[in-house]
Amino acid sequence: MITKKSILTEILTIPKNRLALVSKTREISYKDIVTIYEKNKELISSLENKCIAIHSSKREDLALLLAILDGNTKRIVFIPEDIQKKYLEKYYTQAHVHYEVSLDNDILKLKIILNTDIKLLNENTEWIIPTSGTTSSPKLISHTFDSLTTTVKKNIQEGDSFIWGLTFDIYRFSGIQVFLQSILSGSRLIISESNFSIDETINLFANNSCNIISATPSFWRKVLMSPASSNLCISNITLGGEISDQTILDALIRRFPEAKIVHIYASTEVGVGFCVNDKKGGFPLAYVIKGIKEVQIKIIDNLLFIKSNKKIQYYLSKDNMYNDQGFINTGDLVEIRNDRVYFKGRESGSINVGGNKVHPEEVEFLILKSGLVNEVKVYAKKNSMMGNLVYADIVLSNQKQDEKVIKKLLFKYCNNNLDSFKVPAMIKILKSIDITNSGKIKRN
């Protein structure tokens, strides 16, 4: 008997024959999810007071596991596919994981990790999500169904017309958001796997008439470069996970003129902060002055601080997440220009060139604006004279162009538009720039 508010109780209100999850090899209806739950009911009921970790390389399995286990365990710990062993052991101890669970042909499998008890008083399942650790070691954050669904729109009737494309990993905050938004509205989620190429992912989305995709700006840049993207009929575009600059927004407007385009500010710590839908980079200064919905924003020493009315999430390590006024320091640097707030990069991600700070994102956006390149990654390279120098890897927008000429043009363009210490010391031309499973540029 399912009684508590959970994904499964929500699924029971959705027309049974609607498709819920579609992968390259399988179609799963909402009814199928309930059947899979029923099949494993006995084992699931034994997990009522347990903490479990889900660790699977298949996004499809993760989606199913979440759907059948939420509400039926004390804690679900999300383990990244590419986790380092030292973090895995730390996570299991910190989150007191009893079992690692997986699915084998829809049958639940348990692997014992710990067999000591822990008293947890939470009624709803805690969702323990690791931060992406882009610039520091990842931390575990406790969320609940409530904190994760604050901004999720539940409209089962409208939801029928949405076919989502999943580009993120489900164990990340961004992937969980897409999964919950899709499943709680009774929409269809097309699942690409992390080992798919961009073309494979786009073709899967196009073949399944996907009309709404949430992805990072880096992922969208790759979509725009892929000839397969001409088969996509997108009505809604969401960008998140990285800074959305005007160049990518304009390029998306040109390619998908009819689409609604929204960029979202969210993080594993904050949850969803706010959405910007005026197709411009940054966000209105009015959000800082008046607040936006339930969120208050402050800028202290050029850093963005966010406070939401609900303070449900916390670091599992018990480190303090909030300041005295209840604000979270996002670590994102911003600047105000003409009544608009623009993101400059991560405070911890800056490059120190002989004592001067350079934010890679600032240089990346300028280079993208030149129109000469499609992708760029700016990073620090150790240097015996300056400590570090700024290096840039680029992918040319026109592969047939003379590399030497383009480099010369780019150096000139950067010299004219940047302080000298921000100008890349070296520009390397590559065929593509690697992105992580979460669609972000790989930064070390």
């Binding site: 002989g354 015996s384 004279m385 120098l389 150096f411 000139k412 010299n415 070296m426």
Partner: protein
């Protein structure tokens, strides 16, 4: 490979890359580095570019760093620190 010629070639390339100009009539051994037209950032770029070309950075190989003041000293350091195979 002629180290001296490579350094000279890259020196002029970095001048152009950094939008700088040679401030002396000709580049010779007695030219003071910081009066040559490249500033300290320009030198850092020169060293990085030379490492890319020659596969070694003499300044990171030194136990006690020596900073050359003339162009001649700079070239000599590259010659002296050339890795023996």
């Amino acid at each position: 490979m002629n180290i001296e010629k490579t350094i000279e070639k890259i020196f002029f390339e970095v001048l152009e890359q950094t939008d700088s100009k040679l401030l002396v009539d000709t580049l010779h051994d007695d030219v003071l580095l910081l009066e040559s037209g490249l500033d300290s950032l320009g030198f850092a770029i020169l060293v990085a570019t030379l490492e890319d070309e020659l596969d070694y950075d003499p300044f990171s190989m030194m136990k006690n760093a020596i900073y050359p003041s003339t162009y001649g000293e700079f070239v000599r350091i590259y010659k002296e620190m050339y890795p023996k195979k």
